[in-house]
């Protein structure tokens, strides 16, 4: 089982190319309001995570995901 921090670290690195304003990322950084991801960019990011962990992330979880930390927790649950 991978540690929460490891999920966070992966998400930080996966977001690098989409973090156009070079924001300092933390678990409280929001994907849309802070980083400015469009809905299409969010889905591209989700695909990156799915490929890396070999999981499917249901769209149903997205309404509960605002921050990088929220997403790390969801991915950890799905990858258990």
């Amino acid at each position: 089982m991978t540690d929460y921090q490891e999920y966070l670290n992966f998400l930080y690195s996966a977001l690098e190319s989409q973090n156009k304003n070079q924001l300092a990322l933390s678990e409280d950084t929001t994907l849309v309001a802070d980083i400015g991801l469009s809905s299409l960019e969010v889905m591209e990011f989700i695909e990156k995570i799915e490929d890396h962990f070999d999981i499917s992330i249901p769209l149903n979880i997205l309404p509960d995901v605002n921050t990088i930390g929220d997403l790390a927790k969801k991915v950890r649950e799905l990858n258990l």
Binding site: S38, S39, L40, E41, M43, E47, D54, I55, S56, I57, P58, L59, N60
Partner: protein, 401 residues
């Protein structure tokens, strides 16, 4: 504030107004034919209508609608479950089922309500839906309402679908797989042979939306599944009457008798007024015509090849193969708006598509071809794009032939 979330759209509309462009509010003042009209005071070639076979202006369809409106009145004023089921609706259901060679059909008031309603109803809590990432907004809207677990697979990627079904284990047997025949924005065709093979291997139910492929693909015009030879693998076909059939409305057909029970569980079918009998009558006539006149499809494809080849030869970024939908992809929003406006001024009325309606972060000048376009009209559309290059509004890519 409640309205804050609309500010971005309000700003975009204000920007368009300041540039005297109305791509999303252009008003058609007169229809001259299936391919010509007066829009915003200008005579234009209609190059973004989805009127694939030109039947919206066919005199036989018009006559059928006129006779029906005289006989039945202007509307049904009720739901199919209440007072809105006329013999016209039942006849159309019988005929669309026969057209597909299956036993069961439901006719809806719009294509949107057909796909949205079916996707919202077929799978429910505890079920899994796998849908192509580039699915139409009506499908996304439906699956969101369904209560099922919703998983996207990569667009037109059967390997990715297989991977996701494999991850589901036994749950795959009961999954609903959703694909479209031709995708509406770029005109690309689904690899249905491969998708059907994946379904056979892992199980599940296959739902194919033939909205843009019915009347366009297949030996008798049933769509992409017929063209791919995999109709037996498709559990549910959905489609619309508002494209190749030139009217409005939608349908779902199936070989499964359970469709008759499902009918009574679809909110989008139950809680809306049924189609006007005149609309149904013109649809029935159009269905008869597309069956009797395969030459319409041949002319459509001839026009599609002409437009695709012409735009590709100009060096514009178009899809991987010819299709009745030919979209020119651009990266810059402002330049795309300028091009749309210049095309309009050149007498060519196309669709402007912006993300997220486009399947990527690109902007589209979306053209749809009709069998009713003349060769000269297609040449005029191509010339319109050539003038964009001459005016420096669009840069051809280096691969121009």
């Amino acid at each position: 504030m409640l309205f804050d979330k609309f500010q971005t759209m309000a700003n975009f509309q204000a920007e368009l107004a300041s540039r005297h462009v109305a791509p999303f509010g252009a008003v058609t003042e007169k229809i001259l034919s299936a391919t010509e009209g007066v829009v915003q005071g200008r005579n234009v070639i209609l190059a973004g209508t989805n009127n694939y076979l030109g039947l919206s202006c066919d005199v036989r369809c018009i006559k059928a609608a006129q006779e029906a409106v005289a006989r039945w009145g202007t509307g049904t004023t009720g739901s199919r479950l209440a007072n809105g089921s006329f013999t016209e609706h039942q006849a159309l259901e019988t005929e669309i089922a026969q057209f597909y060679g299956v036993g069961h059909a439901i006719v809806f008031s719009t294509g949107y309500s057909a796909t949205m309603g079916m996707c919202a109803t077929l799978a429910g809590q505890g079920d899994v839906i796998l849908l192509d990432a580039d699915s139409h907004a009506s499908i996304y809207s439906g699956v969101k309402q369904s209560g099922a677990e919703v998983i996207r697979f990569k667009h037109n990627n059967p390997e990715d679908l297989a991977k996701r079904l494999l991850r589901l284990g036994d749950r795959a047997q009961n999954a609903l797989i959703i694909a479209e025949g031709i995708y509406s924005m770029l005109g690309d065709v689904a690899p249905l042979q491969e998708i059907a093979a994946v379904k056979r291997e892992y199980g599940g139910c296959l739902f194919v939306d033939e909205a843009h492929s019915m009347g366009v693909l297949g030996a008798t015009g049933r769509g992409a599944a017929q063209a791919a030879g995999v109709e037996a693998d498709v559990d549910f076909f959905a489609g619309t009457f508002s494209k190749s059939l030139g009217s409005v409305g939608g349908f779902c057909v199936s070989r499964h008798p359970e469709l008759e029970a499902i009918r009574f569980c679809i909110s989008a079918y139950i809680f809306t007024a049924s189609s006007s009998p005149s609309v149904v009558a013109s649809t029935r006539e159009a269905l008869r015509i597309i069956t009797a006149e395969p030459q319409l499809r041949q002319k459509l494809w001839s026009n599609a090849h002409q437009l695709y080849a012409g735009l590709k030869a100009l060096g514009l970024t178009v899809g991987p193969s010819a299709s009745p939908v030919v979209a020119v992809e651009m990266e810059d929003r402002s330049a795309t708006i300028d091009c749309w406006k210049a095309l309009m001024e050149a007498g060519v009325y196309v669709n402007l598509v912006i993300p997220p309606a486009s399947p990527s972060t690109n902007f589209l000048l979306r053209n749809s071809v009709s069998a009713a376009h003349t060769t000269a009209q297609i040449d005029t559309i191509i010339a319109g794009y050539a003038s964009l290059i001459t005016a420096g509004l669009i840069t051809p890519n280096s691969k121009a032939q």
